[in-house]
């Protein structure tokens, strides 16, 4: 009986010690995580730049959303009109500008070219875009392109980056499946 009584007392003491110990333990461990709480958005794409060049003529289409999801909406800018009946060389660049210096995400896409593909489409009649680069399997990626304009007109140009699409596909984002990493639409004018 006495034994049991002391077991009981010891148990209660033990409980109290446990509780206090864990409180102390966790209070101490507070210090560990206070500072590194601020996780950067490492995969964030803040800037999409599509540069079209023809000799000295360069047109850039830039979309930025520096604060990522939430906050301010993304902005879409184009440096000037495209020239009619011209073939431009196009290069796309994805960046995370919250890092300093800005992180080039295009490189990651290129490395995993077989898991990514850009899709371009325009409502301006006469604009055709061809992907000129290929992944390890010989399928297009779409970082490098040629854009050919036809007659003058206005409309939109949409760029979509799909992660894990079906490759090869029919060159439409809708049928390629996968999940969308980038979807930007610019208003363009061909003069």
């Amino acid at each position: 009986m006495k034994n049991l009584k002391s077991i009981k007392m010891n148990t209660i003491k033990l409980l109290a010690i446990f509780f206090i110990a864990t409180l102390t333990f966790s209070a101490c461990s507070d210090d560990d995580h206070e500072d590194d709480d601020h996780d950067h958005e490492e995969e964030l794409i803040t800037t999409v730049t599509y540069t079209l060049t023809k000799g000295n003529d360069a047109v850039t289409l830039v979309s930025t959303d520096l604060d990522g999801l939430g906050g301010n909406d993304a902005t879409f800018n184009i440096s000037g009109p495209l020239t009619a009946n011209t073939t431009y060389t196009g290069v796309i660049k994805l960046e995370n500008a919250t890092e300093d210096p800005a992180e080039n995400i295009t490189e990651e896409v290129e490395e995993e070219g077989d898991e990514h593909e850009f899709f371009y489409s325009s409502t301006v009649s006469g604009i055709t875009i061809n992907k000129t680069d290929t992944d390890t399997e010989g399928n297009p990626i779409g970082i490098e392109t040629t854009l050919t304009t036809g007659a003058a007109g206005t409309g939109t140009l949409t760029i979509i980056l799909k992660h894990e699409p079906t490759k090869p596909n029919d060159n439409t984002s809708t049928n390629a499946g996968g999940s969308t990493d980038v979807e930007v639409t610019f208003s363009v004018t061909v003069e």
Binding site: D37, H38, D39, E41, A74, H163, T180
Partner: protein
Amino acid sequence: MIKLYCFCVFAFCIHTNAIAQDCIYTFKGKITDFHDSTPIVGATLNIININKYTLTNSKGEFEFKNLCENVLTIEVKHVACDSKKIVINLTKNVYKEIFLEHHLEELNEIVVKSNSKTESTSIEQSLNEVTLASFSDKSLGDALNTVSGVSSLNTGNTIVKPMIHGLHSSRLLIINNNVRMFDQEWGDEHAPNIDINANDRVDVIKGANTLKYGSDAIGGLIVLKPRKYAKKDSVFGSSLVSFNSNGLGGNVNSEIIKTYKSGFYGKLQANYKQFGDFKTPNYYLTNSGIKSLNASARFGYNSFEKGFDAYYSIVDNEFAILQSSHIGNVNDLVESIQNDEHRVIEDFSYKINNPKQSILHHLGKIEAYKRFKGFGKLTVQYDFQINRRKEFDVRRGDLANTPVIDLRLFTNSLQSDLQIDYSDNLRINTGVLLRYQQNDAISGTGVRPLIPDFDKYEAGIYTIGNYEINETTDISAGIRYDFSSIKARKWYNLTDWNETFNYDELFSEFETGTIDNTRIFTNPEFTFHNVSASLGFVKQFDNDFSLLANYGLASRMPNPSELFSDGLHHSAARIEIGLLTINKEIANKFTFSLEKNSSNFGFIISPYFKQINNFIQLIPTGITTTIRGAFPVWEYSQVNAQIFGVDIDFNKKINHQLNYTGSLSLLKGNNTSEDIPLIHMPGTNFSNRLSYTNDELNKLSISLTHKTVLQQNRYPDYNFYTFNPILQEQVFVDISATTPTYSLFGLQTSAVFKTFKTGSLKLEFNIENLFDTSYREYLNRFRYYADELSRNFNLKIKINY
């Protein structure tokens, strides 16, 4: 309930008169009840070695005269008592007070009966060991789905969250071995981290008897309990192996129990479960498997007067998340909704790829109790839980193996319960609770944490009284007060803080002055005072009828996601935003139950009504444009809500071998602030079961089961339009529509074989979705992406030894 057994303990005072002569001693005494000190009449005392008998009189007193100097062995017996032997070395006149006890049910193996409730006035239903064993390779949520009024919110088919009367997550308390589970339960796609094989019984409390565990059980309470073991020297256990054709997997479970006559006991249990990709009638669900390893250990000492119980369990789950559910933006969602074709279909595989969830849950507790004679029982418990939740998504480059969500939640509590039961018809339970909780959003995920770091302190105090007015009528009443305080550390988007939500004016005291580009560092801090109460009434009538009525007042503080969540929810393709302005929700619940409980015919009709003020719900409020495309924004908001309905259960014994059971659940949920239905309310459903059992023929049992879930026609319309840049037009996003009615049939058979001396072997063969029906369920978050499971053949072998 009649207390069938008695237990005998003794305490003493000894009066002496030294008389140095043989056979002149008197042995006198009194036998009283241990817990209320009332005399026990008609107990037998037998001095075995001289074969003398006597009985206690109306005052509980007894007397043996003319005894010789001797060592006497006395056996004390009372109706329905375990006999107790006392040894006395008689060298003088002796007076002894002997205590008997009426509470032995707590010491013996509890035979699971449907009518053994946690509280006489409580409206509840239970799952016993046999039912739980048949769900051995499934989840707790699947097992609870068989209880009327209980449904589940699913994410695929392995993540199953129980729902009582349409309420889930933070509104349901899950009590595992007397420990309240804290496992990031606020999330829709966070299943309870419980191994169904580690427990022997589950009670679903729909009514008001919930105050002991918290003030916020707006939906109800799910209580998982281990079995109590008899005090005898014994070793026993069981092993179970199951195999399923769908998912080509199953589980292995083993448990071994050692008990001692002294009251000590120990149990070890382990379980391993694995499934590969599941299949619908038409295709494989790529990346839908599960891997789960669970173990538990228990050790304790059990006697009437005192005892302790130590328990530790580990649950380690890895859930594959359906590949097709990984979508980028709202246009991907539109494609999924419009195409009946499942997006990613590959061959069967056991591999668990990203996206996936990996969760490790530790739970430990130690509980000790002591009874005080003529007063009651004091129980003190310390428990802790560590929950580590990692969610992996499909990511680029080096981040592929880094989780997007990595949260560690540490919870520990110290609580006491004092049960005062010396009076025959009044029992009072009162207790206090202290709890500290710490959430740590582990750094290194490369994603801003969905839930920030926080510390939470809680203190609670409660008193519940249960009074037996007469043989057929009991009432109960209780009140509880909780204090909680939460302190978080969170970075906000500066534009959101200053402009979108106007927090710079509303909560300027939370600002720390640290601003990093577009982010602002804040220390939100909230305190809440919650009062809850309950009333219960039960009246028994002739013919096994009883009527129960429960009232409950419950209040719940907003959970961390309702306050702080702020980011993209991948599989839903939406941005979810919690608001610091969210306040607590308060519910008034009324539950009634008319029950008839007889061996060949019974029913339960249980209507309920819940008025919930400031009901917190997540609803779409707009669209935001990002570089990833458009996303709908869902914000938490508060409305007044009403949920009411009725659960009906029915059973009829057709003959001594045929038995029928049926149930029906009807429910309506209204958002009374906007006069529209509530989202995600279960549709009307009913089930039937016809069983044939033959005890003579190896306990052969064959059951045919059926369940129909009707289409939910009452749902809020949160559909919207989004611009599709490819099609150059606005497209309609139908996220609200409910799924059509479906009916499922199943077959269950089992037989028991005597294999060796004390053991038995049980064989079970079951077929689920007998007719290979193709269907989708409204309460599955993946209903946009894929069908539910096809036919499954299930084989189980259980050996008891």
